[in-house]
Symmetry: C2
Subunit: 585 residues, 2 copies
């Protein structure tokens, strides 16, 4: 037996006990004739004491221990004179009578502290050391807790966890699949799942009624910030449900998590916004509603006054930045630069300073009288002291830019707290999007999403006007989950495939098994999938999902610790009947 206790459990009650602890040397201090060592393990820190007077040999031995040495220490629990009330073990220390070095350590490449001197790349290369830092460990402990709570909650609601296969079939629809060559079937490939979508639908057809799984999914994307080639979903599906049933069920899950994990009680149902309403009020379909600053259209108010910029565009809209009327030239320039960034894409920024003395000062004074500007202010619900920010252009692009500007102002004014959780549902998504480049429709959600029954007639006449029985859950501006009621009718599914440009043959090859399953009594069903990494990051107060993944990949999809992907032997390639062909770029 290596230890009698962990480094996190001894308290005042244990004084006088003989104990054995194991852990890592966090810190060592020599104070006159005494040496103090903070011994750390997963559970906490306990102070070890060595006394030069009573045991010089042992004390000298202790002084040789370096940071991150792994040791075993035996001794007696004693009350500390200099108590540390910040940690549970801060009232005691161990008067050590024996130590053993279980393993030495070289000096770690960065300090094992919350505020470390190690850069991102270094910490990723030595992720096993990075994981020792409290802040990382706490995130993974939170993830563990959330995982168990999700499973226990859903199990208590009669959801059954079913493992769906990882080696499945490639589908050309949606993002790119990762492929897995089959050695025993030369020239053939499995694909890793982007989600267990079709399998969970089959489980509903198979009568499993309520399914869930916390499951790894894979997407071979060109890497963007905060995307991982492998990520984790809470994947769920229910049979004999309408949209309302699904919303209620998973509102329940998230409320349970907020309460059990964060101690936050959420009264009443989550707010709901239609997709159109969200875009018009917040400039996007994942609004952060922890603060107002709602976008309003000014077109009727501002057009026809001789200002050509406004007269010539589709849409003019604005927001009100509270208390910013006194922004300096420099601050205004920064905002203008922000909206002109390529990813925001506005041509320029019109402002109205609604001064505290009641006067208005704007960048378009030439065209609009103070009376007119005050009408803008009234529409945007501005008070004296506020700043109106107005953008103009194509409707969708301008709304998007206003949405980004709104978030920028949120950040500048520090309007929100990470400890506040503002969930809502976005509903009534469009079913289809038209892609001008490939001249075809794409499913906004996926090809299995059911159109609203009242819009089915529009499928032929005006496909992009069809609304879907699809929904997203958004918390604090982050899309944490999304789902839909699925098609369960063979004819309708066939029609969707047609609209999406599948030939009958392609549909049969890719999804024949599902179309076949619809022949044998498919119940109405629908579900949702949560991005679990994002949900954990949100609860942990971290901005990046990398902070809540034990062994993440970098932005090029590389694990720099184990150094993968990597080349493989020619023999292995040959077994797979494959040859690498380096293309000219």
């Amino acid at each position: 037996m290596y230890r009698t206790h962990t480094c996190g459990e001894l308290t005042g009650k244990s004084v006088g006990k003989n104990v054995i602890l194991c852990g890592w040397v966090q810190r060592s201090r020599d104070l006159g004739g005494m040496t103090f060592i903070d011994l750390r393990d997963r559970y906490g820190i306990t102070q070890l004491v060595f006394n030069m007077e009573t045991n010089a040999t042992l004390c000298k031995q202790a002084r040789k221990l370096g940071r991150e040495f792994v040791i075993q220490a035996e001794g007696t629990v004693a009350e500390r004179s200099n108590k540390n009330l910040k940690i549970p073990t801060g009232k005691i220390e161990i008067i050590v009578n024996r130590i053993e070095i279980l393993n030495a350590s070289e000096i770690p490449p960065f300090t094992i502290e919350n505020e470390t001197d190690g850069g991102d790349e270094l910490r990723m290369k030595y992720r096993y050391l990075d994981l020792r830092r409290n802040i990382v460990k706490e995130a993974l402990e939170l993830r563990h807790k959330m995982t168990q709570e999700v499973r226990n909650y859903l199990s208590s609601k009669k959801f059954i966890e079913v493992e769906t296969p990882m080696l499945i079939k490639s589908t050309p629809e949606g993002a790119r699949d990762f492929l897995v060559p089959s050695r025993l079937n030369a020239g053939q490939f499995y694909a890793l799942p982007q989600s267990p979508q079709t399998f969970k639908q089959l489980l509903m057809i198979a009568c499993y009624d309520r399914y869930f799984q916390i499951v790894k999914c894979f997407r071979d994307e060109d890497f963007r910030a905060d995307r991982q080639p492998e990520f984790t979903q809470i994947d769920c599906e229910m049979a004999f449900v309408e949209q309302e049933d699904v919303l209620n069920a998973f509102e329940g899950l998230v409320k349970d998590l907020l309460l059990k994990i964060k101690g936050v009680e959420f009264d009443g149902p989550f707010p709901r916004l239609s997709y159109n309403e969200a875009v018009e009020k917040y400039g996007n379909d994942k609004p952060d509603i922890r603060f107002g600053m709602i976008i309003r259209e000014l077109s009727d108010l501002v057009k026809g006054k001789g200002f050509n910029v406004f007269d010539s565009v589709e849409y003019i809209g604005g927001i009100c930045a509270e208390g910013c009327a006194e922004y300096s030239r420099k601050q205004m320039d920064a905002l203008t630069d922000f909206v002109k960034k390529p990813q925001i894409g506005a041509k320029g920024l019109v402002y109205v300073k609604y001064n505290t003395d009641g006067t208005c000062k704007s960048s378009v004074d030439k065209f609009y009288s103070e009376v007119e500007l005050k009408k803008w202010a009234a529409l945007l619900e501005a008070k004296p002291g506020d700043l109106l920010l107005v953008l103009a252009g194509d409707k969708n692009e301008t709304l998007n830019a206003l949405g980004e500007l709104r978030l920028e102002i949120r950040n500048i004014l520090n309007l929100i707290s990470k400890e506040i959780y503002a969930p809502l549902w976005i509903l009534d998504f469009p079913l289809l999007e038209w892609d001008e480049e490939t001249k075809r429709y794409y499913a906004k959600h996926h090809p299995f999403t059911s159109p609203k029954s009242e819009d089915i007639d529009l499928l032929d006449k005006d496909p992009v006007a069809v609304r879907a029985n699809a929904y997203d859950m958004v918390i604090n501006g982050i899309e944490v989950g999304g789902g839909s009621i699925r098609i369960h009718d063979r004819q309708l599914q066939q029609k969707m495939f047609n609209i999406l440009g599948f030939t009958q043959e392609e549909a049969e090859k890719q999804f024949g098994f599902l179309m076949n399953a619809f022949r044998y009594g498919a119940p109405p069903h629908g579900g949702i999938a949560f991005g679990f990494d994002r949900l954990v990051a949100l609860f942990a107060g971290h901005d990046s999902i990398r902070d809540v993944i034990a062994f993440p990949k970098n932005n090029s999809g590389r694990d720099v610790m184990i150094d993968t992907p990597a080349t493989i032997s020619d023999g292995h390639l040959k077994e797979l009947s494959l040859q690498v062909v380096h293309q000219k770029k």
Copy 2:
């Protein structure tokens, strides 16, 4: 809302209630003026009643419903005159006043019953229908329950669940990896994990102390009966532990599962056998100890009596088949044929019938007197009426054949019950095996397994004599789990790689990250992994792991339902910088 209740919850207490149910038509019976329909969902079966006299239109409608139609039915709960006490809902029926067909069904290709008329292949092709059968559903429900219990138990013991990556690095050691080509790193590959072995060791080095995960693992093997290319492990690791700590921890887990899932209380510690003892007594390292029939060596007793077959071999051993002295010629021939099968490999079978009248009759009467044969009987603890079965040859092969024969007799005599669970630990495995073909040592467990400290000296002198700190848990003749104390010392690990024939460079390339991690304070650690599919099959009383996997692959690694692996488009291949090269066989 589709339904007010499920088909499994209405009882006598609900009589008089108006309810709406949804489900599948399991069976329909017309009895005179009445029609009865068994409506089935995941939760049970409820009887629907239609009366020609009171509602002829509805009754006619009901008579048109085919098997597996999905319907919604509204009506009033009534007490049944003809009660079915075998099911919880058997006391009531629903007097239906409205039905709606939610989806029709073609006639299913096999009957949805426990005893179905569908063959294996047909059921796999329509797995979503096969999954509707009670016997399959119950296995998956059991799997769900076991999954939750494993997680809750381990969480309560402070194990933390950490997700390790699926896209890792290929290692040439052990079985073949499945590979995943990286599009963004042309010519490079990820590998799917055969187990999270190195990651869980890194988690121990990272101070996580107690880790677990129920995780998919992958092995690209030439398919054998009851192997799946993807399978599920309960993967666990602990730091600051000796072998005894690990055995105790996971004996606890299995006892908890036996109690909570099967209601079986197991008193006292699990029996333990050394590897050598297991092989000598049971002919293999995964003995079924639900029954005795222990193998004993007869060499000393039988050699030197002029029987050349026995005199010329390394080993002679036997077992006692209780009560089989009166086996007919035909039965004896069957046993002889059994041991001569290529996979058993014995040259012949010697028997002694110890008759109920106390006389002995044997196939080697010419060489051994009755007095001598009775000595054999005494050694094998036979009573009058028993049959002694004796094999001779090389020691290991003969023990193996005797082990197989022992299991065959078990099956013939129906000696065991599936409801009895007889777990034990096998300890002291050899660390290394010598492979004559490739002229090198292989790790019996894996290259990270620690040798017993008292055997470390033998590493240079006599490598195959070195025993490992490795252990398997066996239940009813099935190896359900195995693990070891790991090496945590850099030098020792280096030495192991040397013995296994890795060059320094290869070791660095494959496992450099682990060797590096050992530099920074690696604690002593060890763990175990359970084959979860096997464990569930064992608890479910199924012989094949396929019966407890929702969507299994067949013996060629193919999912015949979704028809994968499959060819992919040239475009996709090109993106991966790959070309298929069909080799001549």
